[in-house]
Structure formats: C-alpha cells, structure tokens
C-alpha cells in the first residue's frame, strides 16, 4: 500500500537542529524511530505530517545504562536491545518479560520502548512494567527539558502529555531498593505476536509488599493503588486474592471490542491478577516458571 501523504524527510545529526524542526512544525512534525506504528499510520492516513524527523542519528537518544539505582533507556533503544541486555534481564525482569511479548522479532528489531509509550495504545505491553518501576519520561524542546512521571504520561487512548514541540529523549526506571520477584501476565489468543486483550504486572517483595499495574483494561495503563492497599502487609492466600480481585474491578474499566467482550476482560482480569501475583511470589523465592515462560493466559 503506497503512502499518499506528501512529507519531507530529515535526519538531523544535531539535537538543536531536531528541536528547531519540532518548534517550527509542531503537530505537523512526526518523530520516526522504529516506524512500526508510524508507517502503518502513514499508510492509513491516520498520520498526515508535513515533515518526518528520523531521530536515529541523534547520539543523545542512545544509551542503556544503570547508574546509582536509575536505569536510563535512550529513546532509540529497541525492544531487541532490551531483551539482549543482562541488566534488564537481571535487575528489571518484568520489563524484560514484557518486552518479549511485544509483537515479533522482526518488529522488535526496530520498535523502541519510547515509541511504544508515545503511541500510547491502552494495550502497550511495556506500560505496566514502567508503572511498577516508577518510570519517568524525559522530554526536550527548545524551551527546555521536562521529567514526566509515567502516571501523568498517559492521558487517554493514544494520548500523552508530550507537547507538540517536544521529543522524548529517554525513559528512566528506578531500581527497587530490595530483592523482588515479578511477572507480566498477558491475555492473548496465542503465545505468538498477539496484542494484549489484557495485561497485569506485579512485583512482590520479601516484606509482603506488592506493586500492581495493568494495561488494556481501561483507557490508559495504570498502577492499582487500591489493589496494593488490600495486599500490602499480608501473605498471599485464596481469601486475599478474592479481596484483591474485587478491588481490581473498581480500578479497571475495560471495553468490548473485536478481541474480547467487557465481561470476559472483567472476569479474566481477576484470574490474571491471581496467577500474576502467585508467579511473582514464587519467583521471589526462586521457584515458579522462568521469566519469559508461563506468562501468557
């Protein structure tokens, strides 16, 4: 399918030049990194930019490193790079597990984490993990830099707090100060390249505290403070999971669409919450399936 929108293509090597283009063209400029969403949108006329700015030559957007308990992921880092990273696998296993469920190898070789959260579809696989690890989104424009907590980043389906003149330069995650087990449980039709019909991510800590987040079960991915309040301080058990499931129902608002009905998602969200927490706790104690296994419902 040809792209019918006419646009200019630029590939700045210099950040100032890139920011200048965005300040000049604003909504009419679109950043191109992996292109796995943008090119589809161009083909379907959902995006009609006047200029496409290829950001892959900007050195400021490279880099994947953990310093002082903060993991810095540059905006041009792909999901394949995340999966290949020993630091991600070892220290941020839920992000690693979630990255493995994003589309397929041929897409992950180009698609970036930053692009995933800029597309901001409610089913973004990376979003629950980012919520668990208290991520911040770093942006830059001619007016200056901003740090936006992930809780404020998603503002609605396909909508973010990014301003028209800004670009995302990196995403930063905080290393939990203590040992943890985690899980990203994804509801998909098969263990292949499916979009999430629902997703629940959780961290479990040795002091019986927990973090829980979801995607595809509401207009935007989010942490679940009410579920965490029910869980915190208690050992996981059948009764507690029922209570946590009830709390979850108050925090999610799934829709019916081509992939699932609202009722199915509401039911499965509770099932997934239980499986996700049980897996996270098992992994905390070195048991349960290895990360990347047993996490598709």
């Amino acid at each position: 399918m040809p792209i019918t929108t006419e646009f200019e293509y630029v590939k700045p090597k210099d950040m100032d030049e890139a920011l200048h283009v965005f300040s000049l063209y604003r909504e009419k400029a679109r950043a191109l990194a992996g292109g796995t969403d943008l090119i589809v949108h161009l083909k379907e006329n959902l995006a009609r930019p006047e200029v496409v700015v290829d950001v892959k030559a900007l050195e400021e957007l490279a880099g994947l490193d953990l310093k002082g308990g903060v993991l810095h992921i540059g905006a041009r880092v792909t999901f394949s790079e995340l999966i290949a990273s020993a630091v991600i696998k070892g220290k941020f296993p839920v992000l690693w597990e979630a990255s493995l469920t994003v589309a397929s190898t041929g897409v992950r070789n180009r698609a970036t984490l930053a692009g995933n959260i800029c597309s901001a579809v409610p089913s973004a696989d990376s979003a629950p993990a980012l919520a668990l690890y208290d991520a911040e989104v770093l942006t830059l424009s001619v007016k200056g830099a901003r740090r936006i907590p992930i809780a404020d980043w998603f503002t609605g389906p396909k909508k973010t707090a990014l301003l028209p003149e800004e670009i995302v330069t990196a995403v930063e995650l905080k290393l939990p100060g203590k040992k943890h087990g985690g899980c990203y449980m994804k509801l998909a039709r098969y263990d292949g390249e499916d979009l999430a019909q629902g997703g629940i991510a959780a961290l479990a800590f040795p002091d019986n505290t927990y973090r829980v987040a979801f995607c595809a079960l509401g207009p935007k991915p989010s942490r679940c403070p009410a579920v965490e309040a029910v869980l915190n301080g208690a050992k996981l058990g059948e009764k507690l999971l029922v209570k946590a499931g009830e709390a979850l129902l108050a925090e999610i608002s799934p829709i019916s669409d081509i992939r699932s009905s609202k009722e199915y998602r509401l039911h499965m969200a509770q099932v997934m919450l239980g499986r996700c927490l049980e897996t996270a706790v098992a992994r905390l104690f070195g048991k349960g399936p290895k990360y990347g296994n047993g996490n598709i419902c």
Binding site: I3, F7, K43, S104, G106, N109
Partner: protein, 155 residues
C-alpha cells in the same frame, strides 16, 4: 516532496537511486530493483512475508521508508547464500516439504537464519518464538519447526 539520493548495499552490491520520502522500502525493492522474494502480505507488519535482513537483523520492509535504507546493508533471500545457514535451511525445507504455496518461505528462512546466527542450538520453544512473526497458512508450522531443528542437527 524533496527526493533523496540513497545509496546502500543490496545483496552485496552497491545500489544508488533516487526515492521520494514516502516510498516504502518493500515497494522500492520489488518495483524498482526487481527483488521479488519479499512479498506484499498484510502490508502492516503482522505477517512477516516482507522480511529482509537490514544490517544483519530481520526487519519488516513494509514498515521502513526506502530513504531509511541509506547507508544500510540489505540482504534478501536472493542474496542470502553468503550466510552460513541459509542454504542448509533451504535444502532442509525442500526435503521436509516445509512449505506448500511458498509465499511465507523467504521470510521464514530469513527469520530462521537470524536465529541460528545468534544461537546455533535453539530449543523448539525458541524456534517457535523466532518465527512467531511469520504467518504460514498452509503447513500448520510443524514441518517448518522440524526443518529448522534438523538443520541444526545436521541430519
């Protein structure tokens, strides 16, 4: 739209041509450079029939602008004979009847090539994961997975 002169390596040979910013890599490969192994399937990144190797990694050529190929090393199945595993895979696919209509085969073989270059001893799960983005509507995948497994074992 300002056209761009792009230069890249295609199957070991330097090519140079002028493209529009909106030209898609897959369409340029097929329509202007005569490279027909990458197929137009879903044309939106789901089916994997347009798979090519870009700088050694499989990418969806339907989801790349041609202008992005500037400076890259692009290998399609036509030029993949130089890769260690490709011909072995092709022979084994042929032997095992691992494709019927053949539409998915170039993409599957390139995905398997990338996998074996990274890890010459994959598990069956890793093989399935590596080709999860290549849809086949004929075989049911079993002979494909077997062909890849047997290529590794050198049977």
């Amino acid at each position: 739209m300002k056209p761009h002169l792009i230069q890249f390596t295609l199957n070991g040979e330097k090519v140079s041509l002028t493209v529009e910013p909106s030209d898609v890599l897959l369409d340029v490969l097929r329509g202007r450079l005569g490279i027909k192994s990458p197929k137009v399937g879903c044309d939106r990144g789901d089916c994997g029939t347009c798979t090519v190797l870009m700088d050694g990694k499989t990418v969806r050529s339907c989801l790349a602008l041609a202008v992005e190929a500037h400076g890259a090393d692009i290998v399609t199945l036509e030029g993949a004979n130089s890769r260690k595993w490709t011909q072995k895979l092709q022979k084994k696919f042929h032997e095992k009847n691992a494709f019927q209509c053949g539409f998915c085969a170039p993409g599957v073989i390139l995905s398997a090539t990338e996998l074996l270059e990274k890890d010459p001893n994959p598990t069956a799960h890793e093989i399935k994961e590596a080709i999860a983005g290549n849809l086949c509507r004929c075989t049911g995948y079993e002979p494909i997975v077997e062909a890849i497994e047997e290529t590794v074992k050198g049977k």
